[in-house]
Assembly symmetry: D2
Homo-oligomer: 451 residues x 4
């Protein structure tokens, strides 16, 4: 009788996927993991949170993304097995025994994501990576039970890939490095569902030049431009999609809304007990894994619908603005010089009748598009290595002008957020009373920046 | 001062759309309608309901679809205005004064959709088309207020397009006929998001051959094959996506789940008052438009998460099966011959411990891919007309062999649904006790059909 | 030492291909065949002959198509080897020893095509299939020498696949049947390069459902709609691209031009000896394989450029019309009724100053989109079989309404071609003299058909 | 009666195009130009010359590209007319009277291209731009006659756009600048037909942000990343497609082949008179426009087929290598240091039996991906300007890190070409005799570069 870990489906099962065409499932283990209830929950968590408020196609879920990361990993394993197996090329080659742990880690790496990830984590002090590990290693979950059936200790092995502690760097870098299955899937998927073309790079070409070596994963030197193109696409997605000012505005409002609820709970917990039961453990600051697994994007939104009718003016107004998509407006500013000006502007906002704590915000986006190893910096990212004909490695930014231009440089976008009413003359209910404040405020904004 | 109805945005506003590339908004009225809260709600209603359980990419919303229908209508108006204006070609030409009413009707035609449309409507006796009309014509809605600002009576005018009572057949057929902007958008959009290619037809070519005439909308004879290809694509989407047995299984379960809740509410209304407040008006059978507008897919799912923990075994089990995606299995059957057999099979299901009322179902899918006018049948669809060089019209199925093959024929798929446990030996908890029933049941299924 | 037939390239070689993304070459034999001079000649033969005069993107070559057919065959072999090897499933399974002969036959099946295939064949009585076999089996060719190095008799084995005499029906049907690698590649490729979408079907899905059986190749019953979609796409490509009236007009003119040259050669061979040397063996009616292999599309066109300056008025005028793309016009007609009318029209054409032999033509396009086995008809095509769960086969048109609608029906388009001058009033040099003939002629054409 | 220049087609005519979907022709003038024989000749000139030897899909022609440039220009005119007409926005706005001259110049800008452009020009001292102007302004051409019918002097006006002498910088920059309709079409078209994705940028987005100003054409600041993406795509196409070492090898061989013919003509002109008549005027160094217009890719290749059989060993061998695609191999080198080494290597090539004049070459590719205005350099390119909300302009590389990284930097690739036999042990006929030379030569090549 075949052991569970080696049990292959008699007929390969597929999931139709717009990005990879088909997701191919060959192991019973993988199929069981997909059918586990903790994995099915990911259908109810959007991949891009508030981005769908800017790009209306971006409703895709963590479920779809997780299948995609699994599929890319599976394809890499196939290529490694065919061309670079350890039996064939010796040390530095791929050990086919690593396949299952790699596939499981790829599939499960995002399991702990909650609703509106970063915002929620920030307000309620949760940590999706720690929760991922917890789901994988807690005996009560279906995920644990499936993995444990593979062999004792297997859940911990899968978790160690996710925490970067797994000994084989090839497996770790497949799932997590500057060019891994996770990033490759999300760039292609987010580009597809937003309808932008910036994130499109040539995955088949990358897969043609990827290869294992003793220190992890490298790329054939001849594929340098394919890798370069991936880095540039990633950069473009950050500045144009992930940093989009309107999505960030919706995040800012979500944060203020949850903040207000948190604050209000201290005063009047009973109103939340009435209609926001699933959120109460988090408002109270005591929650179990089971509590966490009941949350999703729709649960929070359901509560917002009810908050919109609450008597607390702030809670109600913020909930309505969020539900009806009324984002704050914004302008860029210079962090070194203009913080005092922002304080002045907040006073004007207050004068116009808006509590600046809830109706203004500073929000900064950061990304490091690519980095090489710098012993003295705090950053220790796995750099991207290109392998020459003779086997020697060269770090990517050494040979790519384009990558060198953005390597090690943090891309930042600082924005000050404020109510649309401050600059929208027609919309101000009582413009006459308000005209002086309006003129003072708008005088400080030119070409989209504070002046 | 420009009247509101003629107010054009100084700079055209666009929404990035994966299907049409850009949605172009030129009128202030249209922008205001999109920003109205009743329209924003459509972001929280999936276009395809339970289909995302089969095709994981299909998370797209009624919001996106509504923008798409608007955009196709806008492009048709542009083509009509450029080439076939009534000033230019006389009677049968396009009257540019109809543009705004057409655009508004296109944008708003799905406004009344609720969560999981047909299932919900069936259980709670709502009607999305009537509600669409109600939203458009009720003075309390933002939509009404915007439309009424265009001119008195304009909301009713827009509503009359949706109810097919508007006098100009060109406008009505643009939004609703056998080849209209609604169908063209959903076929392309559903194909894109499911990742199937069946729904793909050549929209630009259809738009090249579309033309107005006195009786409505026709297509140039030279574009016959483009129209034919659209009909075939539509047929393929129905049989392969919309009729998919797994999506229908999830619908069946949803129906049983809501049914059980409805029933239980009669006995113990208090448990729903505790955690399913927004649904109570519907369980009780008395709801207002405001109640309706608070519902969305996420609200229902939030309640299902709570029902999963209720003490009623049926409610809890059905909720879990739905949340964790455990569809019923199915087999096709012959409606004329096999209804008695189904009664027998239900007894076996009962013997195996499942209440057949909640764990079995008969579900039939019907579609009429295309029909021509048949005075004696009850059906009076607007047939598709091709216009020859000399202006005369020919009905499509007269000249297309492919369309003739499926015209007037209702495509049906009858299925009997039952628990997976009935045919899944490994999964049956106590196979020994159960083996006889199992063998009797499985003996009646061969090549996916009852025998 | 590895035998030549088993010699795999150390690193797989790829060709970038717009249709299949990459063509993967793994055997030294295949790489050598591609580099053989007889195969490189295919770069100079267009896949679609005169179609590029209608669809200007359609400049793709027999070289690209041949690589594509090879690639699809390679993918089928991979799938068969992985899932349906004879070791695994027994009789009816795939024997991996057949791979190389299948790949070679796929790659080489079009080797004998000459310039403007059918027209040239018709005038000069050549036969591209016979020449393909000759190239493969003649000791003087590079192709033969490479194949013969595999093993003695291998060239004949490859040739026998092309002539359908090879014993294994799986190999024969892979290359030649109603749904083979040849047709699948040309539909996708012609759709891509013409820029039409009609030929697009879902190749990956077809490959998912293809399977070997003892009688050849079948498709899983669950993939019925994918196969149906392929048949419909093929039908659409025929009626819209391959039968296009303008491409056929250019073929008609090419035929008349070569005819005139053939005729003229009998009278004055010396003018062709001066500038059309490579064509002389064919005009004379005695040619060797080496003569044939020197011809390509460009050679003929070079001679047309020179013929345009010859003193023979007919040769010169036809050459110019061809080079400068001045197609004849056409109208459809009813073969049973209207042949006498055509004779009348030819007289009018003659009256207008055009020799009807060279300036008019009857041209009919035929295609049989799909056929099943009919013992009494002359046609014995391999019908498309669907395989049910229990292994039994059903013929496609038994279950597909769409396929049934076009199965066994020959699609025909009869056209009468004549000079544009006959219906183009503005272009007629001396309309006054000509007006009566013009009016008589045009009175017989209505809605694009003869009346 | 409508003047010819204003004559619009009653029904817009379209050409199906894989890149732009449809090319829309609205003016009778444009249709007549497309049908002119000098324009039809472009069907027989490949856009990318020898690149199809590397990317087998790249068979597309100057004809298709010219239609594409016309179509992009037409779309720009439409956008300018709708949003930025001079009547609407005053000075700096678009004058609709410029449309026809812009469209004609766009369509005709490549009219003078000959076979294998740059190589041919180099050997025979022709100049395609001068010939373009000559075709447009010579009374004997059909093109001239059509343009002159628009109005006297119109041909010269169109020609002046091509020579950059036309007074309106908007029209000139539309056709010729660092981001013009010409470049935008060839990047997209070459990417499509080669099957690479590097050249893909978002044309619709560029067209959304393009706008006229007094100094020419600018782009909205908000579209900075779209323009940046175009520059990066262009850079990628250069380094990966246009600079491809194999295509350049084929160019090198073509140059040597034509060189040898040129040389041989001085000695034995009679052999060319026999079979290469159309080339004789060029070999002789005296040709007319009519001679030039008879040449195309196929004419040259026809002669190569005949040269392959000539008794001159060099001419014959080079012709065969070209026809059968036997490229020279290459290695990169350092121009400053390694020229002496190359002289040594040439001696080894000679020792191995190959004349270094014909069997080796130095070939360098240069491109300046983008440049800004630098008063002191010789280069005066029109820099790309971004327009801010307040109307002020900023040069692109001031705000784009990626563009700054490649701006003003010439990308170079120096390669030394030599016979494959020098490094291909298996292929060397007499390796024993040759082994010492082989070892000496190969010792100087490492990781694809000379050492």
């Amino acid at each position: 009788m075949t052991m569970y870990k080696e049990q292959l489906l008699p007929i390969e099962k597929v999931f139709r996927d717009p990005v990879h065409n088909y997701i191919h499932v060959q192991h019973q283990v993988i199929l069981d993991l997909i059918n586990a209830k903790e994995f099915q929950r990911l259908r109810r968590i959007k991949q891009l949170g508030t981005t769908s408020y800017t790009f209306h196609g971006a409703e895709h879920t963590r479920f779809a993304h997780s299948l995609g990361v699994y599929e890319i990993t599976r394809r890499i394993c196939d290529i490694f097995a065919r061309n670079f197996s350890i039996e064939k090329i010796g040390p530095g080659g791929w050990d086919e025994n690593e396949r299952l742990v790699a596939l499981c880690a790829a599939l499960l790496h995002d399991l702990g994501h909650g609703p509106f990830s970063h915002t929620f984590e920030h307000i309620f002090a949760t940590d999706h990576e720690a929760i991922t590990v917890e789901i994988i290693t807690s005996p009560e979950t279906e995920i644990f039970q499936i993995l444990n059936q593979v062999e004792a200790g297997f859940p911990e092995k899968v978790a160690s890939v996710i925490t970067h502690e797994y000994p084989n760097p090839q497996v770790v870098q497949m799932i997590s490095s500057q060019i891994d299955a996770d990033r490759m899937d999300y760039l292609l998927r987010d580009a597809y569902f937003t309808g932008t073309e910036y994130g499109t790079f040539d995955l088949t070409r990358i897969l043609r030049v990827i290869r294992p070596y003793e220190g992890g994963i490298a790329f054939s030197y001849s594929g340098m431009h394919a890798v370069e193109d991936y880095i540039v696409s990633r950069y473009q997605m950050y500045v144009q999609v992930y940093f989009h000012k309107v999505s960030r505005s919706m995040e800012v409002m979500l944060e203020h809304l949850l903040d207000r609820a948190h604050e209000l709970y201290q005063e009047t917990p009973e109103i939340f007990a009435l209609h926001s039961q699933l959120l109460v453990p988090f408002l109270r600051g005591q929650f179990t894994l089971a509590d966490y697994l009941k949350l999703d994007d729709g649960v929070l939104t359901t509560y917002f619908i009810q908050w919109a009718e609450e008597s607390d003016r702030l809670l109600s107004d913020l909930a309505k603005r969020w539900l009806h998509r009324k984002p704050l407006k914004s302008a860029t500013f210079d962090e070194d010089r203009q913080l005092p000006l922002i304080e002045e502007l907040k006073l004007l906002v207050e004068k116009a009748g808006f509590d600046p704590t809830y109706y203004t915000a500073i929000n900064s986006s950061y990304d490091l598009p690519y980095d090489f190893y710098r012993p003295k910096s705090g950053v220790h990212r796995t750099q991207i290595e290109l392998q020459q004909n003779d086997g020697t490695l060269i770090e990517l930014s050494q040979v790519s002008q384009l990558v060198a231009a953005i390597a090690g440089e943090i891309t930042v976008d600082h924005r000050f957020y404020f109510p649309k009413e401050m600059i929208d003359r027609d919309r101000s209910a009582n413009y006459d009373l308000f005209s002086e404040t309006y003129q003072e405020f708008t005088a400080h904004i030119h070409n989209g920046a504070l002046i």
